[in-house]
Symmetry: C2
Subunit: 206 residues, 2 copies
């Protein structure tokens, strides 16, 4: 406890927990969850590993918090945006655009989810976290499409397969930014918005 | 050389090199290129590590061969398909469908490319290999679209952004199959074919 108190001097607990989570997000994404130890994260934060265990039970708990915080940031960015008086097509494109300023964080989140799923590690809570993230995304997309179709803003497309295609396009955008290293997230999301607002989906030019 | 000769008894060199490449593909994708040693691959193949160095100069060379072989298999599958008398829209959907039977291999290739690019490892030849793969894919998609537009099969869409969207959708399909673990590649590619053949792109219902 003495060591913890000494280290605590410079940062308040919430700031330090954020520093740990941010560093873990970066290291997990650059390397692999398996290859990064709590000690590596502590060293990168310039703190004692014991301090990480003060905030997080173990590496699994840290992974869940890292993913949970990233998902929470995306949701918070959307909640904080001005959605008053938007129609469902505009809600959808606003949600897509909310990804752009936080793209580096989402790229890392997407990479960690892929590593986790490709590995043989299985943690029921992490599985649930990732599953819920995609269910929530699907429900949001399907709700926009369904309401847009009802309001004759969208053509009567197949809701499930259209929501799936938009969701996959978003995954592809973040995956590609990483794998192709071409840093085109902003432009790719603009293109996706143009498809959503274009004649294939929308009943009239907006 | 004696040890190599002893091990060589059971498999001919080409078969053994394929075994090494296939095992490396699997291990690199499940774990991470950095975390897998030549020794790990040798153990999984039940051969001596020295034998791997007989076929492959080092781990970097092995990675290049793994990616090169995967890219080659995709190309070979397309080249072997019956393309006689297809129009550009049919060429495009045939190419998309060629991915389905070799999906597990491509999912692994896609994962390794993402790991490689996210890491700080840089190898000029591997960079070139990945870059060429995506350039070739883009050129194929753009060629189909351009010829399809010229032949009035496709609407006069923007070739570059449409090719990019198809390519990202394909990346998203393989990424999602891994990260969401939902095994929907066949169905997702069918959906993508339906979009390519649908009214948004095609001038008439096929």
């Amino acid at each position: 406890m003495l060591a913890i108190k000494k280290n605590r001097k410079r940062l308040d607990p919430a700031t330090r927990a954020d520093l740990i989570l941010g560093t873990a997000l970066r290291l997990f994404a650059e390397q692999h969850y398996n290859a990064v130890s709590v000690r590596d994260i502590a060293e990168a934060c310039d703190i004692n590993a014991a301090l990480i265990y003060y905030y997080f039970e173990n590496k699994d708990a840290l992974l869940r918090q890292v993913l949970g915080q990233a998902i929470g940031q995306l949701q918070a960015a959307y909640d904080a945006s001005e959605r008053h008086s938007l129609n469902p097509a505009q809600e959808l494109t606003l949600w897509l655009k909310v990804h752009v300023p936080i793209a580096p964080m989402i790229t890392r989140m997407v990479k960690i989810m892929a590593d986790y799923s490709a590995s043989s590690i299985r943690d029921a809570e992490t599985d649930q976290l990732i599953l819920k993230f995609y269910v929530r995304e699907r429900e949001f997309l399907e709700s926009c499409l369904r309401r847009g179709i009802a309001g004759k803003i969208f053509h009567p497309v197949d809701v499930a397969s259209t929501a799936r295609a938009i969701s996959l396009q978003l995954d592809g955008i973040f995956y590609a930014s990483q794998a192709r290293g071409d840093e085109r997230i902003g432009q790719d999301i603009e293109n996706l918005c143009a498809i959503v607002e274009g004649p294939a989906l929308c009943t009239r030019r907006r």
